[in-house]
Symmetry: C2
Subunit: 466 residues, 2 copies
């Protein structure tokens, strides 16, 4: 064997060792012990004091928080006061102009009683942003389609009719967000697509995993180049009913009556609060969630849970006497549901002030048991974050993966790492955007372990940096 | 550099490669594709057809299934018929004599109205196996203690009194089973320990994570050498009430009245059903759960969920036309809650018939979202099972670890691997052994993903062997 071969073998060995080290960086045992101690303290505090859960109860008692509503302002002032009471270093409201849409008092869809068809009232909920019907409602025939392809194929049948988009959420998928993503086009684009062919209104099957009759709303879109037609969601059971009724009598008519309305944009706010870092105060770590909700239920999981988790992170730090090296900032973004104005405004603020955001963590997938974190970052930062998994396991985190983060924090430019907190979401679409999204649907331990997971992650970023 | 050094370097390299291979064995891509396909099919079938969830609804409609009860027999015949209807290769009942204890019709604990103390009725539930009180009940003072150490220290105060064990489940622990384990000594040994010092009865704080007033029962023990005194659990809220009432008036008395009774052992059965392996029919893989429940609620999570999951494994195999190489056998063990007679009988059967059990999987931690599998095996088998994680992720499994398996399958000797299915259990102790354990507390998707996880694991063992 010549010396070249020896060198090659040595190089291969070195490479293997380097790769191992690269793939599996590890915390040294001194740090690991310190971090484990803090992670234990945070988890115990979460599970015993349940500050976030108590905050959520108060928040839900105020009611839903649709952007532009009085309730949303009341909730904003409530959050500001709560954060001030934690004794954090700064709390402020950040001005944001938001859309203002109101559901109104009339919202009915009745199968017209004629030609042997029994009149039946369907459970509906106007989609967010929909225009109203005329005052006595729209009475029209109904065409049921599964998707935009079928709609296009049958475009000649659409004129003057109500289009009923009846595709279900694909419940065969493990990931309920993927199921949601596969059905939500009907809700957002349905009115635009149907208007192309002269439809007078659209009804969509509620996007849900729960076999009940509670309708689920959500944002919809219009373009100025097309007629703006009313749009509402029907409960799952009544969607089945309508489907069967249409088989029996394809000529049935529905009278749809809605008086929802869009008002001029109105004043609102993001709520921002921070604990200043002791060593690197200019390096900011955001823990954020969206503060607005839809106007049914109380937005407990979407996204009251995320908000009280973000707030509780600051509460843990104060109560446990933790002195974070870097600044940890809680941001409650307004208007994620129908405009993302809060997220955009915060992004502008960061840019204007040339702030250095090291990381941002968003919680907007419900207040359920922690599973993992999706991280949008480069591979060496991802590997560093992954090396913290043994600490994060203290609150139930099982993995850290490359993935998308959140709607609001995407507007913070030049952030080294954007993280999405991922809880188990098997029950999320049961309640999402519906009257089912109540305080009672949130479990205290599941919610609190989320708070703990986010707090531990923020703490580790603060101590370790990137 | 001499040839010895070269050899050393080469050996180190070889060692690194071998260690890497040893720690991370991997399925080849052809097998991985095949297994992923089947895992997808199973998961989709689970989430869409929901056979297990429908079975659970039927089972819960029969009512609770305490060993020795008529209901338990009715449920056993129901399960046998369901399994036969799946068209599996064999179904049989395995004779087991089980304990027969009945709660009776009287179960009250009242704070005696005297000396300014208001009478109040406490929510109680006799512990499983408890003796009755005398006919008019026991009226006695109460001594509250947190644990057996305190009981021993205050032994001189105990004689003639009711001992109130008031220690709570430690809710600060991430693992609710660890919390349960830290409090359950009061329930099982409380009557024995208190009887040592002349107590006349014991009351224990319900072991629960839910802040409500629903009492939680469970098995308790006696020894013949000590007086057998009655024992009951008190709801959490009433435990707080009693604690405060005792501070106000340490001399208060309680009248405890229970007429529960133990009858002679009675005939019961394990339910066994199997699909015979095509290549190695004598190598058996058990999927098992305990069929009995306590006599309140309907034992939906404990362990109706596990039973319908075990049954559904066979249903998947039949419906998807899978031909497992090894025999997959569903065993519904009777009497786990108060005697484990079913587990012991099955273990004896396996030994007597010299059967070869390759693996056994138990589901007895509730019908919640899958997290992982605890595996009791040697390290090379563990590594092999771990290499299947990418396939098991299809149904939501996030880890495979060394750990304990289950109460019933521990009696199967010489099994290469015993596995415990581990779902998220943050909500489990809310319902465990109580009237809260109803069908409505089970979520269809969470339950079904458990069925899928167990089925995929059984399928992989059947294909790969050990």
């Amino acid at each position: 064997m010549n010396s070249n071969s020896i060198l090659q073998i040595k190089n291969v060995c070195l490479l293997i060792v380097l790769i191992s080290f690269q793939i599996f960086p590890q915390l040294d045992s001194l740090k690991l012990n310190q971090y484990n101690l803090v992670a234990d303290q945070i988890t115990r505090k979460a599970l015993t004091k349940k500050t976030g859960y108590k905050l959520l109860q108060e928040l839900c008692a105020i009611g839903p928080r649709l952007s532009g509503s009085e309730n949303s302002l009341r909730s904003i002032y409530w959050a500001k006061e709560k954060l001030e009471n934690f004794g954090v270093d700064k709390v402020w409201l950040q001005s944001v102009m938001v859309p203002h849409w109101e559901r109104g008092s009339v919202e009915t869809a009745e199968i017209v009683k004629e030609n042997g068809t029994n009149g039946k009232s369907l459970n509906i909920l106007s989609l967010g942003g929909s225009v109203a019907t005329t005052e006595n409602g729209i009475t029209a025939n109904v065409i049921e389609v599964k998707n935009f392809t079928e709609l296009k194929e049958r475009q000649n049948e659409v004129k003057g009719k109500i289009v009923f988009f009846s595709r279900t959420l694909d419940e065969s998928l493990l990931n309920t967000f993927a199921g949601y993503g596969g059905a939500v086009d009907q809700r957002f684009y349905g009115a635009m697509e149907a208007a192309k062919y002269g439809a007078v209104a659209v009804l969509i099957r509620s996007i849900t995993t729960k076999y009940d009759n509670v309708p689920h709303t959500g944002v919809m879109g219009y373009v100025d180049s097309l007629q703006k037609i009313p749009a509402a969601a029907i409960g799952y059971l009544d969607s089945d009913y309508l489907h069967n009724a249409l088989i029996e009598n394809p000529d049935l008519k529905i009278n749809l009556n809605m008086n929802c309305k869009t008002f001029p944009d109105t004043q609102s706010y993001n709520v921002v609060a921070e604990i200043t870092g002791t060593e690197f105060p200019d390096e900011i770590i955001v823990v954020g969630s969206h503060f607005d909700s839809w106007d049914v239920g109380c937005g407990a999981h979407d996204d009251g849970a995320g908000c009280v988790q973000s707030m509780e992170v600051l509460s843990f730090i104060k109560e446990l006497g933790i002195k974070p090296k870097r600044t940890i900032r809680c941001v409650l973004f307004i208007n994620e549901e129908n405009g993302s104005r809060g997220g955009k405004e915060y992004g502008k603020f960061v840019e204007t002030n040339n702030e250095n955001h090291l990381a941002a963590i968003e919680s907007d997938r419900g207040g359920f048991t922690p599973i993992g974190f999706d991280v949008d970052t480069d591979s060496s930062t991802l590997n560093k974050i992954r090396s913290w998994l043994p600490v994060l396991e203290k609150s139930g985190i099982t993995w850290i993966k490359k993935g998308g983060s959140g709607v609001d924090i995407q507007y913070i430019k030049n952030t080294k790492a954007k993280l999405g907190y991922v809880p188990d979401a098997q029950r999320y679409m049961d309640v999402h955007h519906s009257a089912n999204d109540t305080f009672e649907s949130v479990h205290p331990r599941e919610l609190e372990l989320g708070s703990a997971s986010i707090a531990i992650m923020a703490y580790l970023i603060s101590e370790e940096g990137f």
